[in-house]
């Protein structure tokens, strides 16, 4: 069956970027306000799933040649290593710290090691969700 999805494809290709921008906002907002790596990852995943729905799988895979299982592994590994890092320095596992750094142009910005942890979480979430959804939808 051939469907006419011009509208969906046109909107999806624009909307995906807006959703990704929102995901980035949520991800960075999470340090002090509602948001964070988990929810940011979910939103990124939703943008990608929208692309998968609008275009067929081959097209998206050409554009985003990522093995999501590997992505999950990288995410979990990154989160875990931030915990191990604290351990190597002699603090309890998963201890985090932060520092205010003066950047030229941007001014003073708070840098936290929990950002790395959250980045790992969001990568793992994106990878896991897309693995699940793609493996369900692959052979239907």
């Amino acid at each position: 069956m051939k469907t006419n999805d011009v509208i969906l494809q046109t909107i999806a290709s624009v909307a995906a970027f807006i959703i990704l921008a929102f995901a980035a906002y949520l991800f960075f907002a999470g340090h002090h306000e509602p948001g964070g790596g988990f929810i940011g990852g979910l939103v990124i995943a939703s943008a990608l799933v929208l692309l998968y729905i609008a275009f067929d799988m081959e097209t998206v895979e050409k554009g985003i040649p990522v093995d999501y299982k590997i992505l999950t592994g990288i995410g979990i590994g990154l989160s875990l290593l931030t915990g191990v890092g604290a351990m190597v320095l002699g603090y309890p596992f998963l201890s985090h710290t932060y520092e205010y750094v003066d950047f030229p142009f941007f001014g003073e910005i708070e840098l936290a090691t929990s950002l790395l942890f959250e980045a790992g979480v969001s990568l793992a979430v994106v990878g896991a969700i897309l693995t699940i959804i793609l493996s369900i939808s692959e052979d239907v």
Binding site: H32, E33, P34, F38, A128, I132, S135, I136
Partner: protein
């Protein structure tokens, strides 16, 4: 509000139990999802519904809502999601492989 939520959790448990006891595999899978929601709602209600401001840095208030049940529920939702995803795929694969979704026909092996 607590009473309403408890009744709702009860209704979800009822529907979930009904679905889990069905013969069709997909109903069972959906039943576990509904049961999961019932359990989470109960957990939320038991932890105390909104009793104050959100416990976030920078919000001044005399009372804050207990964040622990919410953290528990978020974790439980993620776990339920993962399990549900796996169960769906498993049900689908078994339907393909065994050729039936009727639990009556999925009893033990023939040589028993």
């Amino acid at each position: 509000m607590e009473i309403l939520m408890s009744v709702l959790a009860g209704v979800l448990f009822m529907a979930g139990t009904y679905l889990v006891l069905a013969k069709s595999l997909i109903r069972i899978v959906l039943g576990t999802a509904v049961l999961g929601h019932g359990a989470l709602l109960l957990l939320l209600t038991m932890g105390g519904l909104k009793t104050g401001a959100p416990p976030i840095l920078g919000i001044e208030s005399t009372a804050y809502t207990d964040p622990l049940p919410q953290a528990l529920i978020l974790t439980a939702i993620v776990i339920n999601f993962g399990v549900l995803g796996f169960f769906l795929v498993l049900a689908y694969r078994s339907y393909q492989e065994l050729g039936t979704d009727d639990m009556e026909q999925l009893r033990g092996t023939e040589d028993e």
